[in-house]
């Protein structure tokens, strides 16, 4: 690639603006800033929660107060002031919506702009996606609940689930990610305002993709949502998650907890397209994305995490799988793109406890601008996990010499029957590849697009159809100028 062309491309890439940066002018009900026991009581009262839930939150708050913010990740940022965040913000709306017509038109417009048309999906059947929309961490609309209910599937906001299915929430909440797991999981446990709850009964194959769309809208707020997904024996489900936020100068905090439970023979596919506001090209603003995601796979169960990470100023996220039962399978497919001053420290943990457990890790990192992109992962084989098998591959692509790409894999093997393979490579787009494309009449820009797409193909292929298109579009936006 000619030097000036390369510079132009890098320039284009780094100057691309965020397209979901608008603010919806919607009336909202927001708590004053600050965090103490009263705020937690307030949240709990607002949500009309039972007493046990309040106590759970208060216990978590006590634990959180004793903990220190972690600083081991390969990211640098100004620590958020936890007293300068509002912990509750909900769009004001008429209670008890009967149909979509009653949803605030501003809100519907917001989701249209985000590319999620609730009406259209309502009309389509068969290939539809059931969506739970969470704005400023309060669930505003869950679609297709009736259709799902016929199969016995429960899909609702977690606030509703606490009221309607307390026994289930009580049984599973905090079992995969314990309150004291880490600083942010403790904080989330204390102050989470909403999220999704999903239960797939025994042997049921969920007929449609389930999806949650997260949106931060209000200024000065943090978003703390909680997702709990339970797939009973032999159940199958594919779950999608997407997120965006307005463009702001401040750093907004997003600290979510996701817990997945796959019982014997169950199969959960969890896909995320993360596109929180990444900050402007000088690194001002953007969302701090500190997320704890973990799954437990029982006997012969399968958990598959797929993530496309393009947003957030700072990402700190390790979707993990505990392969507890014999024959459990864990998969992790990730593309992380960082640009400008974004920093991502992401990866996975595969904890092999059962015999004959298998895990696969495919991680692709693309760094541009002044960004830092790290893969951090753990593969742990316990002494009792006979014949465990792991394959990990972490590839990084560097665009320009002002960014960084790092890998920090941890491999701990305690069993002599295990097979572990780990590979990592780092490179840039080779001139030979570009030249080859040029020779065949493909211009440099298209060639870069082709190569980046090819680089990420292994992961993009794992996304459900509905999301693959969106993800590819996102990749294009994140690296526009270099992608077709």
């Amino acid at each position: 690639m000619a030097k000036n062309e390369e510079d132009k491309l890098i320039n284009d890439v780094t100057n691309k603006e965020y397209e979901h940066g608008f603010v919806t002018d919607i009336e909202s009900d927001t708590f004053p800033k600050g965090l103490d026991e009263n705020v937690i009581r307030g949240i709990s009262a607002k949500k009309e929660e039972p007493e046990w839930m309040l106590e759970w939150r208060l216990d978590a708050f006590k634990v959180w107060q004793t903990m220190e913010e972690p600083d081991w990740a390969h990211v640098k940022y100004k620590k958020p002031n936890f007293q300068d965040i509002s912990y509750y913000s909900a769009p004001k709306q008429k209670p008890e919506l009967e149909s979509l017509d009653e949803v605030d038109p501003e809100l519907l417009d917001t989701f249209k702009r985000l590319g999620i048309s609730l009406d259209e999906q309502k009309r389509m059947s068969g290939v539809a996606v059931a969506v739970d929309v969470v704005m400023d961490s309060v669930s505003v609309k869950t679609t297709f609940q009736d259709t799902l209910a016929k199969k016995g599937i429960i899909f609702m906001s977690i606030s509703d689930a606490i009221k309607e299915h307390p026994e289930m929430v009580k049984k599973y909440l905090g079992t995969v990610v314990p309150v004291k797991d880490n600083f942010y999981s403790a904080l989330n446990s204390a102050v989470f305002t909403d999220g999704s709850f999903c239960y797939i009964p025994k042997g049921v194959n969920c007929p449609m993709e389930l999806s949650t769309y997260f949106r931060i809208n209000e200024e000065g707020t943090g978003q703390f949502e909680r997702t709990l997904l339970i797939a009973d024996e032999g159940a199958r489900v594919s779950y999608l998650e997407g997120c965006t936020a307005p463009q702001r100068d401040e750093n907004q905090l997003h600290a979510a907890v996701v817990e997945l439970i796959a019982m014997d023979e169950a199969d959960i596919k969890y896909s995320t397209v993360q596109n929180w506001y990444p900050g402007d090209k000088n690194g001002l603003g953007g969302v701090f994305n500190f997320v704890t995601k973990r799954a437990v796979a029982e006997k012969n169960a399968k958990i598959s995490w797929t993530q496309v990470e393009t947003g957030s100023a700072v990402t700190w996220k390790y979707p993990s799988t505990i392969l507890k039962g014999d024959g459990a399978v864990g998969e992790f497919y990730s593309i992380a793109v960082t640009n400008n001053y974004q920093q991502a420290d992401t990866g996975t943990k595969m904890i092999h406890l059962g015999n004959n457990t298998k895990s696969t890790i495919i991680s692709k990192g693309i760094s541009a601008g002044h960004s830092e992109n790290s893969y951090r992962g753990l593969v742990s084989i316990s002494p009792n996990a006979k014949n465990a098998r792991n394959f990990s591959q972490c590839d990084s692509l560097l665009m320009g010499n002002t960014c960084g790409a790092h890998t920090f894999p941890y491999i701990e093997a305690r069993n002599p029957t295990s097979h572990i393979e780990h590979e990592a490579t780092t490179s840039k787009i080779s001139e030979d590849q570009i030249f080859y494309c040029n020779q065949r009449g493909i211009d440099t820009e298209k060639a870069v697009a082709l190569i980046v797409n090819g680089f990420g193909k292994e992961v993009l292929n794992k996304l459900p159809m509905e999301f693959a298109v969106e993800a590819q579009k996102l990749l294009e936006i994140s690296l526009e100028g270099s992608v077709g």
Binding site: W72, H74, I381, P383, S396, L398, M399, G400, N401, T402, C403, G404, A405, H406, T407, F408, P409, Y410, I411, E412, A413, R414, N415, P416, T417, S418, H419, I420, E421, H422, E423, A424, T425, T426, S427, K428
Partner: protein
Amino acid sequence: MSLEEKIISTFKQKNSKLAEVFNQAFELFEQKGFPTKKNEDWKYTSLKKLLKTDYSLVTEINNNIEAKDVEPFFIGADTYKVVLVDGFYNADLSHVDTDKITISSMQDAIENNAELVEKHFAKVADNNQEMVALNTISFNDGVFVNIPNNVILDKPIEVINIATGVLGDTLIQPRNLIVVGKNADAKLIERHQNISENTILTNSVTEISVGENAYYYHYKIQNDTEVSNLVDNTFVDQNRYSNAYVDTFAFGGNVTRNNLSFLLNGENAVANLDGISLLNKNQHVDNFTFVDHRVPNCDSNELYKGIYDDKSKGVFTGKVMIRKDAQNTKGDQQNNNILLSENAQINAKPQMEIYADDVKAAHGCTIGQLDDDALFFMRQRCIPLKEAKAMLMYAFASEALKNVKVEELKTQINKQIAQKLGVNIEFGV
């Protein structure tokens, strides 16, 4: 009094040009003390148990060691021989009959070779590391080697570190400095040997400066007794077009920690790190390697093989840093491990930190077992199980012997491997 307090209380201000270095190191050690598992770099190796022993500090030279005590530990070839006893250079037992190069005690060099020592001492050794700081403030002596420009050394140098244990459980801290001039070529074999039943903790620091276009080979034979512990800190500073090789063969010892750092400061330099860890019983070996690509056009090659039996524990950290200016770097790293027992474990951390875009960097890490089919094939041909296994293990590990350029040394390593595997086979590649 704990060892830490003992060392701090015996620290004396030194009146030399190096005083500042000593004082800084002292401040650091006083503040940080011994590394704990909370330190990410020491996550898998704990010194806690080792530090429970009440070690004596060596203060004076022990002259009671005779040539026959040392003889068995040489490789049996024509070499320049250097013997350190409890960290002190022993001129009587050392045989360096040449005037082409300078080999002397470190203390002697600080006085008589001041210029060279000041130029290199504590320049590449990272005094921010607790164990290095500890050595800097409390070492007694060590060996100083200066290979002048254009000298192609005719035979290897052997450095044997003898621990006498006459003071009971002892802390020994040699401090070595090796300066290899331009266009020079040298090989050095380093070995630590405890000749007593007492517990020994050796905390050694070796600084190596490899001049322009020079070749330098450094072989570490770690085949000490079961009560011997070693923290080895080796720092290699490479200039333009230099080639440096450091091979670490860990067969014996109790707890061994190898901190090996390569600082590539000149363009077109090539760093080579090889290692074999062959462990059983309760042995623990931690190979902590760091390759710092600071300038463009350098290569680094790293190959570590590990075989772990019984309750042994292996740790491998391979950190490769490619800085912003280090374009056109090639960094390659391989770490292959075999676990033989249910109680053995391996923790591997192959890391890359990359800030330059025009690089080719890769690492691979595997953990597996011996191939059952290959074993079956050999047993069909009447090779007993033990021997068959040993042959497979040797085949697996021997790739890391590729840079051993001293025949006698290779023979000795092959013997040590056979001995360790409990077979009577003459290995050879």
